[in-house]
């Protein structure tokens, strides 16, 4: 005898252990199936865009660190590219290579965190996460050698980077490039092909390429849905046009594909790092710019392929020492808009798994 059930609306978050920050969802269930999802955000709003309007161009760099605090380097890079476009400053070659190096290291960090927490959400509590954090720690150590901080880095400056890398950084990077492929193999042995993971993630949270494009998402999620789109190839910045690497794409667009894409991207990042280490020239690391930059009146949009997708800064200058308007196109926020497409018609138990596979960062969503 079928039991008649009423749809029930459940509030999840903002204080929920697996919502990756203060994120709230209002989910409507029919029995165990999800029929509607409404993401609610804004709990971590700090007004970064407004704060940027009353800080000088250099001081805003410290604000960008705090957007997506798992990938400060990419945020720094996106912002300084926008200011450079606005004011026509060209950084020296060595600085461009160093920027690519740190951006790729940061991508590995972010993907390690994403993979670790995704598996945490699947139910592999803490074990894979700790493996991932072991290598993340090595990269953070390298960042500490470079710029004295581990998370909020403030490494880049308009027209270059703040200071050249010390010699111990190069040693650490060479070592890292040697042992990291082995560690990625280890994660794959640990996780890829595991039956429990397969049954929890395969064909769950599917996002078709059409839906992905229509909701304007970017990054690994878009590529997992089979769209070959990467700003590093589509609109190369710094020295990406000299690098040879593949863009891994998925076929189905399910949770498992998103996981595989991140693993594959880490391997591609290692390739880029190796090429950078081989090619990097000597020379200055900062263009000759004043500390107080006054770009001409106008506007510019700078964007990078961040670990989570396209991260862009749109700056308007009125000729003063601080931006007239600073708009941040945050990848996490826009990727979240596809959450409903992924979640509807899946089960309650898959909700957190799918959410984990999107890899958002609340600092960036709420800004």
């Amino acid at each position: 005898m079928p039991i008649r059930t009423e749809p029930i609306t459940v509030n999840i978050g903002p204080q929920h252990p697996s919502t990756h920050g203060v994120f709230r969802m209002r989910v409507t269930f029919d029995g165990e199936m999800i029929i509607d999802v409404e993401p609610i955000f804004g709990y971590l709003h700090r007004g970064s865009e407004k704060l940027a309007e009353e800080r000088t161009y250099t001081q805003v760099i410290t604000l960008t660190d705090r957007l997506d605090y798992v990938s400060s380097m990419s945020n720094n890079l996106s912002y300084v590219l926008a200011v450079e476009k606005l004011s026509g400053i060209v950084p020296p070659e060595r600085a461009m290579y160093l920027r690519v190096i740190v951006a790729e290291l940061q991508r590995i960090v972010s993907h390690l965190v994403a993979t670790g927490f995704f598996l945490n959400d699947v139910g592999a509590l803490a074990t894979p996460l700790m493996y991932c954090f072991r290598e993340r720690e090595k990269i953070l150590d390298m960042f500490e050698m470079l710029c004295g901080a581990r998370i909020t880095l403030s490494f880049m400056r308009v027209g270059g980077i703040f200071q050249d890398a010390p010699s111990e950084f190069w040693e650490a990077l060479t070592d890292f490039l040697e042992y990291m492929p082995g560690y990625i193999d280890e994660y794959e042995r640990l996780i890829t092909g595991n039956e429990i993971l397969l049954s929890r993630t395969k064909d769950i949270g599917v996002l078709s390429s059409e839906q992905a494009i229509n909701s304007s998402i970017s990054g690994p999620i878009l590529r997992a849905s089979g769209v070959k789109w990467d700003l590093r190839k589509a609109d190369p910045y710094d020295v990406y046009d000299r690098m040879e690497f593949e863009i891994p794409v998925g076929t189905v667009g399910d949770n498992y594909d998103r996981y595989l894409i991140r693993i594959a991207e880490m391997r591609e990042s290692l390739k880029i790092l190796q090429q950078c280490v081989n090619q990097i020239p000597d020379g200055p690391i900062r263009a000759d710019t004043a500390n107080l930059i006054r770009p001409p009146v106008g506007d510019a949009y700078g964007h990078v392929e961040g670990p989570k997708g396209e991260l862009g800064f749109y700056l308007v200058s009125d000729g003063g020492i601080s931006p007239y308007r600073c708009k941040i196109r945050s990848s996490s926020l826009i990727n979240l808009t596809a959450l409903k497409d992924m979640l509807v018609d899946t089960k309650l138990a898959d909700m957190i798994v799918t959410f984990g596979s999107v890899d958002i960062n609340m600092g960036e969503v709420d800004r």
């Binding site: 493996y131 500490e144 004295g148 909020t152 640990l190 500390n291």
Partner: protein, 167 residues
């Protein structure tokens, strides 16, 4: 074959069971710090400071408070301003280092500490007296002259004001 993935995963776990842990037991043991570590306990040299307040203007949060009066003597430049107040409110500091980058006279340095815990927020304001007398563990962040000497704040002796300049 069903179960193969799990067996492979468990083999990795098993192999890792017998190696040395990567973690250290803080506070008994601490991980080594890089020389550029941006930390608290700012190093400030009264002899080098001219009271120009570049650092205060450059700080994104405006947490450095400087009060000067003219007519002091500065050991680098002769007559100059005397610094009466130089307070850094590290309770709000984010250790971005922009103040250090802004200082043209190498008078201000990032510190390398990270363990200053206080019960009251006001105790986190470092007054000028404390800056004068503090044991300086200077970070080499944005100070290539220290890096050139291979200086490390936790391995080498504290430096005097004559030794930390660019010349």
């Amino acid at each position: 074959m069903y179960g193969l993935g799990i067996a492979k995963g468990l083999a990795v776990t098993f192999r890792n069971l017998f190696r040395k842990p990567f973690t250290v037991q803080y506070p008994e043991e601490a991980v080594p710090q890089a020389a550029r570590f941006r930390g608290e306990e700012f190093g400030w040299f009264e002899e080098r400071c001219t009271g120009c307040a570049s650092c205060a203007k450059y700080c994104p949060l405006g947490i450095i408070k400087i009060v000067t009066h003219p007519g002091g003597s500065n050991m680098q430049e002769g007559q100059s301003y005397t610094v009466d107040t130089f307070d850094i409110d590290i309770g709000r500091c984010m250790f971005c280092g922009l103040c250090v980058e802004a200082c043209p006279y190498d008078a201000l340095f990032m510190g390398s500490g990270f363990e200053r815990g206080q019960y009251v927020r006001d105790d986190l304001i470092i007054p000028i007296e404390e800056l004068k007398s503090a044991e300086r563990r200077l970070s080499t962040w944005y100070r290539p002259q220290l890096e050139g000497k291979n200086y490390h704040p936790h391995k080498d002796e504290p430096l005097s004001w004559e030794e930390v300049g660019r010349k």
